[in-house]
């Protein structure tokens, strides 16, 4: 379970997150939406441990991410619109580098497994500078699941993907959730919210405006509710 208590974050004089309290249950697919500058990415970076909140605490399975960052980093995989990959390494070499950082045992078979999962086995010895955006995003997903984390954080993972790659990513995220993992996704794509999510969080001006199950919401009602919140 991910638990945020009284989390606030400011950059200089600008308050980005204001007293956020949030619980995300294990195995749940949670989507965070909100207009640009509402603090979605900052929230995700705080959960991942890349940012430290000014006030408040974040715990993952009861472990404080600020004081025991080393223990919580094993539990998280991050998919971002930034791939975290080196252009002048091959797909295999990129994964080999991260596998060494994560201290993965039996590196070769694990890399083979994740490359098979994202259908990139045939391209494993090709420099990723020659990859399309969709292929890089697939490899980024392979990197994020390399250490088999129980929690996946996705920051606008659909950015720049064509329809086919987008569908593949959706299928992959669904399979991750079906296997009992927790997924937290930041997106602007309301269609994906309806299709994938169990829980919806609407963030506006650094505050949580809505935190409720998707249940049987339709796209139309979601758009209407979202517009009402963001035009306040």
């Amino acid at each position: 379970m991910i638990n945020l208590q009284n989390v606030s974050k400011s950059f200089g004089l600008t308050f980005v997150l204001n007293d956020i309290n949030l619980k995300i249950s294990t195995g749940q697919f949670t989507t965070i939406i909100g207009p640009n500058g509402s603090g979605k990415t900052t929230l995700l970076r705080i959960i991942s441990g890349l940012l430290t909140p000014n006030t408040g605490t974040v715990t993952i399975n009861g472990i404080n991410t600020a004081t025991h960052a080393y223990d919580t980093r094993h539990l998280i995989g991050v998919i971002s619109h930034q791939s975290f990959l080196y252009e002048n390494l091959t797909a295999f070499e990129n994964l080999l580098f991260y596998a060494r950082l994560y201290g993965i045992n039996d590196i070769n078979s694990r890399i083979k497994f994740v490359l098979d999962t994202v259908n990139l086995s045939k391209h494993q010895n090709i420099l990723i500078s020659t990859f399309s955006h969709g292929m890089k995003q697939k490899l980024s997903i392979a990197r994020s699941i390399l250490h088999n984390p129980p929690i996946i954080l996705c920051d606008e993972p659909y950015t720049g993907l064509d329809q086919n790659s987008s569908d593949n990513l959706t299928r992959l995220l669904q399979s991750i959730t079906y296997s009992g993992n927790t997924v937290v996704m930041v997106t602007h794509n309301l269609n994906k919210v309806i299709k994938l999510s169990d829980q919806l969080i609407v963030l506006h001006k650094g505050k949580i405006e809505t935190n409720e199950p998707i249940a049987d919401k339709t796209l139309e009602t979601l758009i209407k509710e979202y517009d009402e919140i963001t035009t306040r």
Binding site: S48, G49, L50, L51, T52, Y70, D71, R73, H74, I76, V78, S80, Q82, S83, F84, L85, Y86, E87, N88, L89, E93, F97, Y98, R100, L101, Y102, G103, L127, R143
Partner: protein, 233 residues
């Protein structure tokens, strides 16, 4: 025999440092941009000084060490900028920071990569310098001083480059931060090298030599204590 938790932590620390060194070298061997730009830059400085200062032998001996260290310092700064810039590409530093490693191992990995890059360039430049300036550079004492100076400069440089990389004007910020902080190392290294070249005894050169070692040790301590905090945000 069972490994103690301390052994495991040390092993993991060096595994992640070695992974970073392996990755930096793999990329450099493929791109060859860092070593070639540092080498060309160093050769240009040496050639410009050689032809600009049309000096007799004694005058050349007086300025030689200064020119040598200017070459090394500028080449190292260029190298530092580029090795750290590598981690800006696709936010790869975030990727590393997300992994469960002791973050000081990033400093150690980056430092060792840069130190080896700079040392290779020095090894290329010194024979050329010897030919052009006719200065006897290959004394073991001088090589030790050059290595100690390079160690201190690249260590401070790696530390400050990680601060500079988060800023918009990385290439400008790094020298502005680095030159004042590294001045004691450069001064001691230049003084020590001059004394070695002029055939001074150990007693005469021990002052700057000891200072160089002390600065290296101080900067190792500062780097290890502060890197975790500097690398965040």
């Amino acid at each position: 025999m069972m490994k103690s938790p301390q052994d495991n932590t040390t092993t993991k620390f060096w595994q992640s440092s070695l992974a970073i060194i392996w990755k930096d070298w793999k990329i450099e061997l493929r791109k060859k941009s860092l070593l070639s730009s540092m080498l060309i830059f160093s050769l240009m400085i040496v050639l410009i000084f050689t032809f600009a200062l049309d000096l007799d032998k004694s005058a050349r001996e007086n300025v030689a060490i200064g020119i040598l260290w200017v070459t090394f310092v500028f080449a190292a700064t260029l190298g530092l900028n580029q090795t750290i810039a590598l981690e800006n590409e696709n936010s790869t530093l975030d990727g590393i920071l997300l992994s469960p490693i002791d973050q000081t191992s990033i400093l150690v990995g980056k430092f060792i990569s840069t130190f080896i890059f700079v040392t290779i360039i020095e090894a290329f430049v010194m024979p050329i310098y010897y030919i052009l300036f006719e200065i006897p550079l290959f004394s073991p004492k001088l090589i030790v001083v050059i290595l100690l100076g390079t160690f201190g400069y690249t260590l401070v440089g790696t530390l400050l480059a990680t601060i500079a990389m988060r800023t918009q004007y990385r290439e400008i910020i790094l020298p502005i931060l680095l030159f004042p902080v590294a001045t004691p190392i450069i001064i001691s290294a230049v003084q020590c090298s001059n004394k070695i070249l002029s055939g001074a005894s150990w007693n005469q050169m021990s002052g700057p030599f000891n200072l160089l070692i002390v600065y290296d040790i101080i900067f190792v301590g500062i780097a290890i204590m502060t890197f975790d905090h500097l690398i965040k945000e």
